[in-house]
Amino acid sequence: MVFLANQYALTAEHVVGVRGERLLFEKLNFKCSNGTVLYLQGANGTGKTTLLRTLCGLSKPYAGSISWCGENINSLAEEYYKHVLYIGHLPGIKEDLTALENLQFSMALSGTPFHLLQATEVLKMLGLARGLNLPTRMLSQGQKRRVALARLWLQDSPLWVLDEPFTALDVAATELLKKKIETFANAGGMVIMTTHQEVIIDAPNFIQLRLDS
């Protein structure tokens, strides 16, 4: 499908993570290529979010290097960011705007054109048909989460960095998201995610990494 044509690789070498004065993880090495799902595990406070933020370039690693197709991500900057879709703890949703307006903005930031019909279709598929024109302040936690996740269906970044994507989702939405991640990985996409739910993802290359061991 889409990404098989391009070979991408994200490599972490001897990455050390520090938060404040505390050492979270050290000498972390891994390599993700097309079709990889990297599943980070670990108890609370072991540095999963710190690692994810470091991997997408929001913070610099304390030591070690992270490279995208052989080049350091911090020197690539915008050239790297356009390949990354990061959905963090905070959904990045303005409560005064409607779901569609929020989507339009977050897609524009990553340079994706917004098509109203397509976006409406995706939101309906995610079960938000009735909340389309409401300010997102009126939506529940799970529904807000779905609005943020809708970008996964609308953008085509080759690397997804997802921090607890299953939080607040119901059984149906969890299943939908799991299917989407599988389809994406099988099409050659890369996913790096954390979650406390027990999920097995059927991907060409499924790696589990424990941070606290």
Partner: protein, 228 residues
């Protein structure tokens, strides 16, 4: 697949969204506007009916109240984007952060600075200002409030994520606001004593040009540190 959006479409989207959010929370925008009108209108009532005195204090009173009203809304500039995670998405945009920050500053000025520029001549009439003075007042405020938004953005970005930011921002940006105030009020004063305002206005323009170049860079760097 799709064609990537150009820089201008992305920047327009950022500007339009900031204005849209503000218009859905009109009370915040209105607070700045009415603070200016109320504060500036109280001076003629409190200082007696001496037209000469009013005229003499008009430039400083109008300029100081405009400066304080601009400062009122500074702490909100990045705070809500920081709280809901939008700022992370802005950092990870494929457009330079500096340009997006510039758009946010522009939105702030359109919503809190520009309305003051438009209403200031009306209030100036209360102070017995002449036509030429009113013109200079509007022109100096037009340049000055933009400079205030630009400089204020640095303070807002530096204090992001700290509790009780209001006072801290004031302490940080007030020294930088002083030249804007001096040259802005100075331009109107010059006209009222029959001199040309060009000198003061040029200096104000120079401050604006400096702020336009350095403020987005400094703000973007400060935001990056705040998110680390």
């Amino acid at each position: 697949m799709y064609k990537e959006l150009g820089t201008f479409s992305v920047l327009y989207c950022v500007l339009a969204r900031d204005i849209r959010v503000a218009l859905r929370r009109q009370s915040d925008v209105a607070a700045v506007f009415f603070f200016f009108i109320i504060a500036a209108s109280l001076f003629p009532l409190g200082s007696g009916a001496d037209p000469k005195l009013l005229k003499a204090m008009a430039p400083s009173v109008l300029w100081v109240t405009a400066l304080l009203s601009c400062m009122l809304s500074l702490s909100r500039m990045y705070a809500s984007d920081h709280a809901d995670g939008t700022l992370e998405q802005i950092m990870l945009s494929n457009q330079p952060t500096v340009l997006i920050v510039l758009m946010k500053i522009l939105a702030h000025w359109l919503l809190s600075g520009l309305p003051l520029v438009l209403v200031a001549p009306l209030i100036g009439v209360q102070f017995n200002l002449s036509g030429a003075e009113l013109q200079t007042l509007a022109l100096s405020l037009l340049m000055g409030t933009l400079a205030l938004s630009l400089i204020g953005s640095i303070g807002a970005a530096l204090t992001l994520g700290i509790r009780g930011t209001g006072v801290l921002i004031a302490i940080l940006v007030l020294p930088l606001y002083i030249p804007v105030l001096v040259f802005g009020a100075g331009a109107v004063n010059a006209v009222s004593i029959g001199m040309s305002a060009n000198g003061a206005l040029s200096l104000l323009g120079a401050v604006l040009a400096m702020a336009l170049v350095f403020s987005p860079l400094a703000s973007a760097a400060a935001l990056r540190i705040a998110l680390e």
